[in-house]
């Protein structure tokens, strides 16, 4: 186990090194960063002084070394456009993105796993077929289109709909279902972490963005759990459990579902990284003030320090998540523990 973790750590460091190399190389592509940072009226002498101060006259390998050292200590340079430290800007926007991604991941698990179990158990059921068809459409629709459709239904149409009278007795006013379509609503500051999870307003603002972001993953998990359930239900130990007279409930959830969890953990882990990246699109549609929105503005304005820092941050998340997922295997799957015990015993 220890040897395995060390090996994974070395691999992760290698990945981070490559990503740092790519981020650093992006700066070289755009030509002279001094031109990006100063105005037209800056004199040549001032430019030269700035070059010297930024260390741009050093050999390229030394520059790369400085870049890595700075990045490790949390210094990603100054944004070309905003003239502010990039690390600080990212930190301000991190809570918004992380909350959105976490709620989406949670939503896709809470809804996706039961739907997967249901469609797996009732293969030919009417409802199961509907779930599958809807999920196919969900996979084919681009993220931003889902967001636009949700806004169209819940923010535009419901806002304009007149109360529907029922038998002249009372009226159903659907416009109370109307949902906010931009921003985070009211946020509360918890020691530097601005959260929208503590106000009704903030929670309401989360509904549509998290559905938009989580829908793809939801369908993915549903299909995964379904196919795994179908596979597991055919195995001998399930037949044996039934022969022992265990209840359906015990067989389905105690025996079958448990054994579908390893791939679900893998996919969920891998997808959390993609969720953070795909938040770029969702944040744009719903004007969610997160890191993705800032990254997109950086791409439009060729603000390389932000792009590079964002890339490194995402890579860091990916690496950490992959490590955690690998360790979770050991917790979930006892066979792995036995196997490595044998291997290390031999060695």
């Amino acid at each position: 186990m220890v040897a395995f973790i060390i090996r994974r750590l070395i691999q992760s460091l290698f990945v981070m090194f490559i990503v740092a190399l790519v981020s650093f190389a992006m700066f070289q592509f755009i030509g002279d960063p001094v031109n990006q940072m100063v105005g037209i009226e800056t004199s040549l002498a001032e430019r030269a002084a700035l070059r010297e101060r930024l260390g741009l006259n050093d050999p390229i390998v030394l520059q790369f070394w400085h870049y890595i050292v700075n990045a490790v200590s949390g210094d990603f340079g100054i944004s070309y456009q905003h003239k502010r430290p990039v690390a600080q800007m990212l930190l301000e926007r991190l809570p918004a993105t992380l909350e959105l991604s976490a709620v989406s991941a949670l939503l896709s698990l809470i809804v996706g796993i039961p739907m997967g179990v249901y469609t797996g158990l009732n293969r030919d059921g009417f409802l199961a077929k509907i779930f599958l068809t809807v999920s196919l459409i969900g996979i084919s629709l681009p993220t931003f289109l889902i967001g636009i459709l949700l806004i169209f239904v819940f923010s535009v149409t419901l806002a304009n709909i007149a109360p529907i009278p029922v038998f002249g007795l009372f009226a159903i006013d659907l416009s109370v279902l109307q949902l906010p379509s931009f921003g985070r609503g009211t946020t509360v500051d918890l020691g530097g972490w601005r959260t929208g999870l503590l106000t009704t307003d903030g929670l309401k603002a989360l509904i549509m963005p998290s559905i938009t972001l989580g829908l793809f993953q939801l369908t993915l998990i549903m299909r995964l759990v379904r196919s795994e359930m179908l596979e597991v239900l055919r195995t001998d130990y399930i037949k044996f459990a039934r022969a022992r007279g265990l209840s359906n409930r015990a067989v389905h959830f105690g025996h079958a579902l448990k054994n579908t969890l390893v791939p679900v953990i893998t996919i969920t882990g891998l997808q959390i990284g993609s969720l953070i990246a795909f938040a770029i699109i969702t944040e744009t549609v719903f004007q969610w003030p997160g890191m993705g929105q800032m990254f997109l503005q950086a791409v439009q304005n060729v603000d390389i320090p932000i792009m590079a820092a964002y890339l490194m941050l995402i890579a860091f998340f990916f690496v950490i998540i992959n490590l955690v997922v690998d360790m979770l295997y050991y917790v979930v799957d006892p066979r792995l523990r036995v196997d490595t015990g044998k291997v290390s015993g031999h060695g």
């Binding site: 990945v15 002279d32 084919s140 629709l141 636009i148 997109l296 791409v299 060729v302």
Partner: protein, 324 residues
């Protein structure tokens, strides 16, 4: 039987007809005929391709010709609503552009960029995959490591990064004289193409590793054929099946990526809009009630992607001998 074949001279048309006849007698056509969903998807895809190819002759107006636009016609609703104008079937956008024509031209732009970027990533992926699998050793390890790292990032993120870098490169190198639209095309094809080569490379490498050990490759080596020629002429034809499946699914993905990038504002400019740009422009009018400006291009995009995806799914199953 053999004598019959020898005695009867083969007519020239047989050369053309035989592969066709083999195709229509074969398993693939049979499985195609059996699946009504696939037939429908194929028809829809063909419609889109025709629309894209012959757009200028089909579309009622030329949406790119700014001189012909009339602002008085702007934001007209579709024909079947109360205020609809019979001249514009699906209504008009904020510039007075006919939505139907804009969608036809937009599909053309979307499919053009989609095909070009699929070709780029296919060429790159096949080349690197062949070299990786055939040469092996350090080159193989290097290419596959890069592929793994790139694969762990979502394609859209890689595309956005490449997009930003390429735009920045052209901005700071004014010696490349390109206009805005051409630049957008180049940037999009490069960023989508370069972010999707990994799948091809991994698949081709896998099949190449299998083919490399077979006798016909060894025979070709023994008689001294150049390795490059063995790769292209001998191995490549035998690994193309899975590549075609990937290419079909990747076309849908490329169209989605293009639309997403254009929607995010780093794609095709609004003067010659793709479907994604149309949705982006229309999105501004969603709240003021002009839903048709964004919903119709959105539907056009969703139907195109769904149809191509269904075709890809079917092709994957049809070419997979295990499922027959």
């Amino acid at each position: 039987m053999a004598e019959l074949h020898v005695s009867a001279p083969t007519p020239r048309t047989a050369l053309l007809l035989d592969p066709l006849r083999r195709f229509f007698d074969g398993d693939i056509w049979a499985s195609f005929k059996r699946s009504p969903v696939t037939i429908a998807a194929a028809i829809v895809t063909l419609l889109y391709f025709t629309m894209a190819l012959f757009g200028p002759w089909i579309a009622p107006y030329d949406p790119f010709d700014l001189a012909k636009l009339d602002l008085l016609d702007s934001l007209l609703p579709p024909v079947w609503t109360a205020d609809g104008d019979p001249r514009y079937l699906l209504g008009t956008d904020d510039q007075g552009r006919d939505m139907l024509s804009a969608i036809i031209y937009g599909s053309r732009v979307s499919l053009l960029i989609g095909f070009a970027s699929v070709l780029l990533s296919m060429g790159l992926g096949i080349g690197l995959g062949l070299v990786s699998g055939f040469v092996g050793g350090a080159i193989d390890a290097f290419i596959m490591r890069i592929a793994e790292i790139q694969l762990s990032f979502p394609a859209i993120l890689v595309a956005l990064l490449i997009n930003g870098v390429v735009i920045g490169y052209f901005k700071t190198h004014p010696e490349w004289q390109v206009d805005q639209v051409t630049l957008a095309y180049i940037v999009l094809v490069l960023s989508i193409g370069l972010s999707n080569w990994v799948q091809y490379a991994r698949t081709v490498r896998g099949s190449t590793l299998v083919e490399r050990g077979k006798e016909y490759v060894q025979a070709a080596r023994v008689i001294g054929i150049h390795p490059a020629k063995i790769m292209v002429r001998h191995i490549l034809p035998n690994v193309m099946g899975p590549v075609l499946v990937i290419a079909t699914i990747q076309l849908a993905l490329a169209v989605i990526t293009e639309a997403t990038l254009s929607f995010l504002g780093v794609g095709v400019p609004p003067t010659e809009p793709s479907l994604g740009t149309l949705i982006r422009v229309g999105n501004d009018y969603l709240f003021s009630g002009e839903w048709w400006v964004t919903i119709f291009p959105g539907a056009a995009l969703a139907i195109l992607v769904l149809a191509v995806n269904l075709l890809g799914d079917w092709l994957r199953d049809a070419l997979n001998p295990k499922l027959r």
